[in-house]
């Protein structure tokens, strides 16, 4: 599957948030980096088909998102987890993920298998009967990821999926993402470590424009020793920011 953004213009009211962005997403894990307000969430929401483009086009395997009908055609291939995702605290984990599978249009025979597979991938099989409200923060986040990946959508969009996770849970998360081979995984994050560990490609957004789009190693090579940061990747990220934002 290919997702192509061509000259995408996006925003809210009078504000432009994404400014003439063009890129192609292919299977693999892509990180979306950028400061707050860079347009990461807006880009994810656009790809999730909740925000129609203001101008330009978004196409999924040649299907251009023009209206609600065309958006619905591709939604079974899109798994989306907002940063603050909603749930019924009294719902069981299994029901929560089953509901997601149904919303994604999975037929009954596929649904049970997909739910089991998703729960297995996020390691919540033995918690499937537990209520969502009783889960710890990390387990809840994993249940959210199961929501996004149930049915193995070909485009998985995760907005800040590792926020609030402890180091062990972040390692678990990386293992989960590693299991999504064959899908396009686009995750927005502030955590450079995650990018280095699991991503094949990085897109750095700033002011709605892609300041960088390429392999992680290429981004690392941009780092300068005089810039703040604990790793080459952090220094490279700082390098892409405007000069006035490079100093701490």
């Amino acid at each position: 599957m290919n997702v192509v953004l061509d000259d995408l213009l996006q925003g809210y009211a009078g504000n432009t948030v994404i400014n003439r962005l063009s890129l192609t997403l292919r299977p693999g894990v892509t990180a979306l980096l950028g400061p707050n307000g860079a347009g990461k969430t807006t880009l994810l929401r656009t790809l999730a088909t909740t925000l129609p483009p203001r101008a330009g086009t978004v196409s999924f395997d040649g299907v251009v998102l023009e209206d609600e009908r065309s958006a619905r055609r591709v939604r079974n291939d899109v798994g989306y987890l907002p940063q603050e995702f909603g749930f019924d605290p009294r719902m069981s984990v299994a029901d929560f993920v089953t509901y997601a599978a149904w919303l994604r249009g999975l037929d009954a025979p596929d649904r049970d298998r997909s739910v089991s597979e998703a729960l297995e991938l996020v390691d919540l099989v033995d918690r499937r009967r537990m209520r969502m409200g009783k889960l710890s923060g990390g387990m809840r986040r994993r249940a959210g990821i199961a929501w996004a990946i149930v049915g193995r959508p070909r485009l998985v969009l995760l907005d800040e999926p590792t926020v609030g996770l402890d180091p062990r849970q972040r390692l678990q998360f990386r293992r989960i993402i590693g299991g999504l081979d064959g899908s396009i995984v686009l995750l927005s994050t502030h955590l450079i470590d995650d990018v280095a560990a699991i991503c094949d490609r990085v897109i750095v957004l700033h002011g709605g424009v892609a300041k960088f789009d390429g392999p992680v190693a290429e981004l690392e090579s941009l780092g300068r020793e005089d810039l703040p940061g604990h790793s080459a990747l952090e220094r490279a990220y700082m390098h892409l920011l405007p000069a006035e934002e490079q100093q701490l």
Binding site: R45, R75, Y80, P82, F85, G86, F87, L103, A108
Partner: protein, 426 residues
């Protein structure tokens, strides 16, 4: 079906079921119990909670309608492959099913109670059960509409008040939306039921086309058109008269007890047959000074019933109001007094009747009523003039304090005396 059950078991209003069941049964059994053993009364009594609990049902429906907003799930739902009408359709169906269960339990319990004697007319029960079901659906629809617009807490409160407003408005406009009794001469209008359920189906469609919360309309004016359609359909559903007069039955459609006065009741009132037989025996035992009418029928058993009674053309009749013996005892007493004294006979001169004689006849009437009912304490109150009430009390004292032969002597003496004064020819 599994998805439907997923919605049911995760509905935010599932906890209301035991509460609503308890309230429904409390209303059913604590309000009255005269309905036991009469199908139309059973159906009507068991649908009364639908009006009263509509306040809670509408509020709960609003709470359920706003659940995705309350839980912050709009964005996840907006990415659904399933059409928004499908997403809401399951939620609405589950909410409706849950909030209907208490009503249905109430109706089934009422059915089971009356089914022990299984009198005729079970279809009348069924029609009232459907009527109550339509009322429950209406309250759910109202709640859903307001919940989608105003959110959880405020929406629930608005919906509860909205249901009270609907009851008040329909009472003002037509006065017959709320049905509290299933009198045998009335039946639920099949046309009304068809209109109501048709409106409910169309309302459901309108509700499912409400724009998703926090999302743009799919077409201009979508929200306005949906709300206006739902409101108009609800108005149409509630102003259609729910009950209509039944045709006069012949033959087996009625039960008649022969005697000096033949007493006829609707066949559905079978449980009152022993009471009517007792009453008939008491009429037979009246002194010969009394001339009871040859036949008195329960209202609706004569084609002429229902004519303007002020014209004096309605034949003798009585009602059995909520099973009260004082209702039929009182009306039959009045009919016996009317035929005994021939109030309308132009050959008599009742126009010159003195106040004192009027009060004497009132005392006889009260005695006759107490004699026929077999009790001296009426179950009704009245604001009649005090002189009249005193006359009634004196008549009941006769029934309470004197042996029966003495009562008969007194009553016959009064009848002969009064009639002789003003209507000697009879």
């Amino acid at each position: 079906m599994r998805i439907f059950w997923l919605h049911v078991r995760n509905s935010p209003v599932r906890w209301t079921v035991p509460v609503l069941v308890a309230l429904d049964l409390a209303i059913l059994f604590l309000r009255t119990q005269y309905w036991v053993g009469v199908w139309p009364e059973t159906g009507a009594a068991a649908q009364v909670p639908a009006y009263l609990l509509g306040v809670l049902v509408a509020g709960a429906a609003a709470w359920a309608a706003a659940a995705p907003v309350r839980r912050g799930m709009q964005e996840q739902l907006s990415v659904a492959k399933v059409h928004p009408a499908g997403v809401d359709g399951y939620r609405l169906a589950a909410t409706t099913a849950i909030l209907t269960v208490p009503y249905l339990i109430g109706q089934m319990v009422a059915f089971a109670v009356t089914a022990r004697t299984f009198p005729p007319g079970v279809l009348l029960w069924f029609a009232y059960a459907l009527l109550g079901l339509s009322v429950t659906f209406l309250s759910v629809s109202l709640g859903w509409l307001l919940g989608r617009f105003f959110g959880g807490g405020f929406g629930a409160m608005t919906a509860a008040l909205g249901w009270l407003f609907v009851l008040a408005l329909t009472n003002f406009l037509t006065g017959d939306f709320v049905v509290v009794t299933g009198r045998p001469y009335l039946a639920v209008d099949a046309f009304t039921l068809a209109v109501r359920f048709g409106c409910l189906v169309l309302m459901a469609v309108a509700l499912l086309w409400l724009p998703e919360s926090g999302r743009r309309s799919r077409w201009p004016g979508q929200g306005l058109v949906s709300v206006a359609s739902a409101a108009a359909l609800m108005m149409l559903a509630v102003v259609t008269p729910p009950v209509t007069n039944r045709p006069v039955p012949e033959g087996e459609g009625r039960i008649c007890i022969s005697g000096r006065t033949t007493l006829c009741i609707w066949q559905e009132q079978e449980k009152y047959r022993p009471l009517m037989a007792t009453l008939s025996g008491r009429i037979d035992g009246l002194p010969t000074a009394f001339t009871p009418p040859p036949e008195v029928r329960e209202f609706g058993l004569d084609a002429r019933h229902g004519l303007d009674e002020r014209l004096g053309v309605s034949p003798p009749h009585f009602y059995i109001l909520e099973g009260s013996p004082w209702s039929y005892g009182g009306m039959i007493s009045t009919e016996i007094m009317s035929s005994t004294f021939a109030w309308r006979d132009p050959a008599c001169d009742w126009g010159r009747m003195s106040d004192a004689d009027q009060l004497r006849s009132d005392a006889v009437l009260a005695w006759l009523e107490a004699y026929l009912v077999g009790d001296v304490t009426p179950d009704y109150s009245t604001d009649a003039p005090s002189a009249m009430q005193q006359a009634w009390a004196s008549g009941r004292r006769v029934a309470a304090e004197r042996p029966l032969p003495e009562q008969f002597d007194w009553a016959a003496g009064e009848v002969i005396s009064i009639r002789g004064e003003y209507c000697a020819k009879r």
